[in-house]
Amino acid sequence: MADVYRSSIGEPTAVRRVLIGTTLLFLVAFLLLPLVVVFTQAFAKGLGPVLTALADADTLASIRLTLLAAAIAVPLNTFFGIAAAWAVAKFEFRGKSLLVTLIDLPFSVSPVIAGMVFVLLFGAHGWFGPWLAAHGVKIVFALPGIVLATTFVTVPFVARELIPLMQAQGTDEELAALSLGASGWRTFWHVTLPNIRWGLLYGVLLCNARAMGEFGAVSVVSGHIRGLTNTMPLEIELLYNDAGALNAAFAVAALLALLGFVTLVAKNFLEWRHGDELAALRGH
C-alpha cells in the first residue's frame, strides 16, 4: 500500500512529514510519557529504596496474593476458552451468536459493577450473605471473592483469541485425524492444540496481564486489608494515597509496568513471527 505514496497521487512530502510528526508527538505525549514516568518516579532515589519497598512484608503479601489470584483465574479461563472455542468453531448450532455475546459480556461491564455483583450475591446483605455467615464462609473481603472477581473480568480473553483462529482453521484436519482412528482427546492434543498454540499463548498472556492488573473489580470485593486482601494494584493505591510512600507506590507500579511491558513485547513478537495465524485476531 505504501507504493501508492511513492507514486504520483499521494500527499505532498511536506504534508506527510507533518502528519508523521504529529502522530509521533501525540503517541509520545499520550502513551510513552506515562510509561516512562512510572520508572523515573520509582527510581528517583535509586535502586535501593525500590528494593526496600518491594521487600516490605505487606507488599510481598500483595505480590503473593496477585500471583495466587492469577494462578487460579488464568487456568480456569484458559480451560473455558478452549472449551467454548471448540464448541463455537467446530460445530453449527442455534444460539451460537448468543453464546458469543455472552462471552463478550464481561468486557462491556464496568469493573466496579463486576465486583459489585459478587457483593450483591455474597456480601453481608447479599442473597447468600446470611447463609455464608451462618456457616462461617467468607467470600467477600477474602481470597475467594478476589478470585471470583478476577475470573469474571478475564473470562473473554482466551476465548476471544481462540474462536476466530479456530474458525479460520476449520475442521478438516480434525476430521482427517478421526478418520485415521484417533480418539477425540488425542485429536485435540496432537492436531488442534499445535495449530492454536500461538493464539493460545497470546490469549493467555493478555488474560494474565489483566488478571494481575485488575483494579476496579477487586477493589470492590477486597476489604483493602493490608497484608491480607490487598493485591498489587490495591497496594499501589494504598501507598499512593499515603503521602510518605509515594516512592514505594511507584516501585510496585514499576513491577506491574514491567509485566505490562513484557506482555506488549511478547504480543508484538508473536504477531510478527506468527502474523498470518493471528491475522484473524484483529480488533479486541
Binding site: 505504501a2 460445530f91 464496568s110 477425540g184 476496579g216
Partner: protein, 294 residues
C-alpha cells in the same frame, strides 16, 4: 440399523430414510460437542449470567419508586453525565487522532515504526492503577506535561479535563486497531480513479477514502466509548472525585456500596448497563444502515 440397510429386500427407500436419520443426529463427526458446549454454558451461567441477573433482579425489586428515589438526585445525574459525556468526548478525540495515527502507520514509513506501532497497545497491557498514578503524576502541576500546561492556565489533574485525558489514553488502541486493517485493505485503484477524474488529494480523502472507513471508525469509537464509561482504575486518581464536579459513576457505585446502600448502588449500576447497551445498540444500527448503503 445396519441390518435394515444391508437387507436388499427392503429396498432403497427405507435405507435412505435411515441414512437421513443417522446423518441428522450428530452435528459433525467431531466429538466433544455436548461436553464443550455444556461446560461453557454452565461456566458462563454461574460466573457471568447469574451474577449480572442479580443486579437487574435487585434493581427491579426496588420498584419504579425506589429506582426514582435512588437515581433522581443531582449527584447521580451529574456522575452519569460526567461518565457518559466524558467518554463521548474522549471517543471523539480518539476518532480524530486515532484516525491520524492509523493512517500514518498504514501509509507511511518512518524510523522506529515497529516500536511506535507496539506502543499503541500499551493502554491495553498496562494495569489500570499503574496508568492512573502515572497519568496523575504526569499532569499534576509539577508534572512533565502538567507544568507547561499550568503556565498556559490549563489545569488537568483533579479536574474533568483530567478525566477526559485518561479516557483518551485507554480508548486510543480501540480506534487504531479497528481502523488499521480496513485502511490497509483499501486499494490504490479507487484513489487513482478519483485522481484521474480531477479530484485533489484532499477531495479523494474526503469523498472516497473516508466513507469506506467510516463504519470501522464508528466501531472503534464505540468500543473506546464503552470502555471509558465503565473505567475505574485509570481515572480514579486523576479525577478530583469531588461530588457533582468530578465524580465518575463507577466511583459513586463504590461509595454507595461502602455505605451499604445496595439499593442505590444497584440502581446506578443497572442504569449504567442499560444506557451503555442503548448507546451501543444505536451505534450498531447506524453501522448497519451505513453498510447497506455501500
Amino acid at each position: 440399523m445396519n441390518a435394515v440397510i444391508a437387507d436388499p429386500a427392503i429396498g432403497p427407500q427405507l435405507s435412505t430414510r435411515t441414512v437421513h436419520k443417522r446423518a441428522r443426529a450428530p452435528r459433525s463427526a467431531l466429538p466433544g460437542f455436548g461436553l464443550s458446549l455444556g461446560f461453557s454454558v454452565v461456566y458462563l451461567s454461574l460466573l457471568v449470567l447469574l451474577p449480572l441477573a442479580a443486579v437487574f433482579l435487585r434493581a427491579a425489586g426496588l420498584g419504579l419508586d425506589g429506582l426514582w428515589r435512588a437515581l433522581a438526585t443531582e449527584r447521580v445525574l451529574h456522575a452519569l453525565a460526567l461518565s457518559f459525556g466524558g467518554a463521548a468526548t474522549a471517543a471523539a478525540i480518539n476518532a480524530v487522532f486515532g484516525g491520524l495515527v492509523a493512517w500514518t502507520f498504514v501509509r507511511y514509513e518512518f524510523p522506529a515504526k515497529r516500536w511506535f506501532h507496539a506502543l499503541v497497545d500499551l493502554p491495553f497491557a498496562l494495569p489500570t492503577a499503574v496508568a492512573g498514578i502515572a497519568l496523575t503524576t504526569l499532569y499534576s502541576e509539577h508534572g512533565w506535561l502538567g507544568a507547561p500546561l499550568a503556565k498556559l492556565g490549563i489545569k488537568v489533574a483533579y479536574t474533568p479535563l483530567g478525566i477526559v485525558v485518561a479516557m483518551v489514553f485507554i480508548g486510543l488502541p480501540f480506534v487504531v486497531r479497528t481502523l488499521e486493517p480496513v485502511l490497509s485493505e483499501a486499494e490504490a485503484q479507487f484513489e487513482e480513479a478519483a485522481a484521474t477524474l480531477g479530484a485533489t488529494r484532499w477531495q479523494t480523502i474526503v469523498h472516497v477514502i473516508a466513507p469506506t472507513v467510516l463504519p470501522a471508525l464508528m466501531t472503534g469509537a464505540a468500543l473506546a466509548f464503552a470502555r471509558a464509561v465503565g473505567e475505574y482504575g485509570s481515572i480514579i486518581f486523576i479525577a478530583g472525585n469531588v461530588q457533582k464536579v468530578s465524580e465518575i459513576a463507577p466511583l459513586l457505585i463504590m461509595i454507595r456500596l461502602d455505605e451499604f446502600d445496595y439499593a442505590g448502588a444497584t440502581a446506578l449500576a443497572a442504569s449504567m448497563l442499560v444506557l451503555s447497551f442503548g448507546v451501543l445498540l444505536a451505534i450498531n444500527l447506524l453501522q448497519a444502515w451505513s453498510r447497506r448503503r455501500g
